[in-house]
Symmetry: C2
Subunit: 447 residues, 2 copies
């Protein structure tokens, strides 16, 4: 005999034609509802049951849409979006030395970072990213903009052994970064990480200091590592060891370490990752475009190493659409691995969601639609010709369309995008500011 | 002294913030107008001058858009769009033998081809393709649907040495194909080509006959060639020669021959292409997804061999967005070639437009915005966050966004898409039919 229970309160009962919870892997639920209260997922259950069991302040049914966890972009330089397309089709070093660095040294400042970060966040929200890992100068500005927009972020303050407009020395980087870390502590959406730029821009003393400080404050370490074969060769010539071995010697490898790019590895490198629990962030489009190499994700995954997905900065990659990034990752794994069964759709989607959450140490909070987790989720509209017919929604997500299908975005239950319209951003102002920077930067940059 | 000339008549004066004519290569014109009369481009000139010199029935200015030639999708199987996502993450042979062929043998017919082709054309128009090369059964149905939708097409009738629902023998394929060729002759938008399926499905006698007939009627030959290493190895074992050499022996290689895929080649193969003038169609996403291999486009281009771009059928690739295909081509050329300067944005765009026109023998008609050519052009809206800032429109086209930015499409001056709305297609009916096929096919296909 069924006992009648009074409806429980909820803030939002959200239902859609399909729900992809990511956990359990490969699952697709039809006509399922996600019940949200106080920014968290209360339950995932059949729509009819949800409407019977919950008394919601708001009910939203999306009949042509798919609900899934928001994407996690595990590496980027948000403010560099202002340099998108300024210099293309160049190798890494001339691209950096002749174009990016001169432009940065001319224009970099808190205003550049505020406007560039806001543009990047607009693009990420519009294409379904609800959490991003950033590494750039003026991290306090990045934090302020992210907080204003309501997006979740891990903000790595950069550490380099040379002067930048933001900090004159590595010591000053650490000082400012630690102050920001203290200030942000307890923020529900933001975390501060240590961002040693790369093995070739950070010396041994600084690495040693980072290991101590990051351990003390229990913060993640986010670093460009093994991006190119040249980097590894140079390290062997200069330090007599591979960059990852050098990091390990300084105590920098652990489960909170995020190794970005990692296009070069030998078995010993995998052993170091596996024994320390360090994570890898794969940026396939940036690696291809700069001809940096290819990160063999399938081999990393087979070795049990968690892999996340990152767009890198728009100055190299050139957009922040993680759905497109995901497709590149999935197709490259098959094509370059010579095996069409590698990185199937469900796994690629997991890499772009839960994989990112694991890399950032946030998998108890986000990365899947499970009761108790934060309500960071997106709706993907599947009505365009490329979404038809629809035998398998996972295939449609991984292999067709782009982030432009994302219609709704919530972070911790707060709506950031509704019917493709921004709720926390003034997009006209973002556009005007981007055009203004474009005019100024174009007037001073090399042809 | 300026002599006042009376305005000349025009059907449409179309202007936009940017015009990318493709010829001259790399050019970007600002505030330029394209003047159209009787389906052809009369002139390309500054907007103010166009409005002074021409008296147009219609004037349209697109202030946030870029005008460019419509994209040419040089290989696909339009009707297979109905099988999109039915079976993914499988190697070529099990994918074909266990999924695609059984489903085709159950469902293939003129109605399947009509509905599938219409869906594919909707997707192609919506993403900026104005001309497509097709190879599929019931080519007369493909021609009828293409004509109804107003899109340009090269329709290759398939030729195989085994029975299909469309034709019992190769002889019957040729008979039906030649009849269609005669019927279509003189059509301003459609051409019929010979479509020997592949070296492993067509015998020597049939190849010899195709060479004779195609020469007699002056038609193109469109063939899957060197798609996989296995195909080449099998040919060496069976015929004692590489597939391309076998084609050459039968007289099938010439400037009207379109070799699709071509992931495998040695210097001798390049010599055959170069001396005969045969063209290559590159389908990077399909090749990656089925782990078929990689076509080294930069090496082909360096050898002077024209290369076009194709999506392949949506059953393998899985969407028909040629902008995404173009990005895969450009990034793979850099990443796999180990040289970031390869296939720069302008060249990738040329490959997707003029390159396709050259491959199909249509470069006197389409592929660039030049006076005298047909008015096959598209408008790309550049207002989304991923399009900002905009230093170089070519970079934005090649490396950001997707075909979803295409807002307007004209073929031979006739509008097919306006503000993202179809003018020659009933998209609600297309959607309903795709869902109906989905239900029927899903009910009978292997899990």
């Amino acid at each position: 005999m069924a006992i009648h229970q009074p409806p429980q309160p909820a803030d939002l009962v959200l239902s859609a034609a399909w729900v992809v919870p990511v956990v359990p892997g490969g699952a697709v639920y039809q006509n399922c509802a996600c019940v949200i209260r106080h920014g968290r997922i209360l339950a995932l259950l059949p729509r009819a049951e949800a409407e019977r069991r919950y008394q919601a302040a708001e009910t939203l049914h999306l009949p042509d849409h798919l609900l899934m966890p928001g994407l996690v972009n595990a590496h980027g330089h948000a403010a560099m979006t202002l340099l998108r397309g300024l210099a293309d089709d160049l190798p890494l070093q001339p691209w950096l030395e002749d174009h990016i660095w001169p432009t940065e040294s001319r224009w970099l400042g808190a205003d550049f970072v505020a406007d560039g970060t806001r543009l990047a966040i607009a693009e990420m929200i519009a294409s379904g990213t609800t959490c991003f890992a950033d590494m750039y100068f003026y991290p306090a500005t990045v934090a302020a903009v992210a907080r204003h927009c309501g997006i979740r972020a891990q903000i790595a303050f950069p550490i380099l052994d040379f002067a930048t407009p933001w900090a004159a020395t590595a010591e000053e980087c650490l000082h400012q970064g630690l102050a920001l870390h203290d200030e942000i502590r307890g923020d529900p959406l933001l975390r501060i990480a240590f961002g040693p730029h790369a093995p070739y821009t950070v010396g041994d003393d600084t690495f040693a200091r980072i290991a101590v400080y990051a351990g003390e404050v229990d913060a993640a370490i986010h670093i460009h590592l093994h991006e190119t074969a040249q980097e590894v060769a140079d390290s062997l010539a200069t330090h007599g060891e591979r960059p990852i071995a050098r990091l390990h010697r300084h105590g920098l490898l652990g489960p909170a370490t995020q190794c970005v790019h990692f296009t070069q590895f030998v078995d010993g490198d995998l052993d170091l990752l596996a024994t320390t629990g360090a994570r890898v962030v794969h940026c396939p489009r940036s690696n291809l475009k700069l001809a940096s190499g290819y990160c063999d994700v399938a081999r990393l995954r087979a070795a049990g190493i968690p892999v996340a997905l990152g767009s890198d900065g728009a100055a190299s990659s050139n957009d922040l659409d993680l759905f497109t990034e995901l497709r590149f990752a999935a197709l490259l794994a098959k094509g370059l691995g010579g095996d069409a069964t590698r990185l199937p759709a469900a796994v690629a989607i997991e890499m772009a969601t839960l994989g990112g959450a694991i890399a950032l140490g946030l998998d108890s909070e986000i990365g899947s639609l499970e009761p108790g987790k934060a309500a960071d989720l997106i709706a993907v509209e599947l009505t365009d010709p490329g979404a038809l017919p629809l035998y398998n929604p996972l295939s449609q997500l991984a292999y067709t369309g782009s982030g432009s299908r994302v219609s709704h975005v919530w972070v911790q239950g707060r709506p950031l995008l509704r019917e493709h319209r921004f709720l926390t951003l003034d997009f006209a102002a973002v556009t005007a500011s981007a055009r203004d920077w474009q005019t100024r930067i174009a007037a001073t940059s090399a042809p």
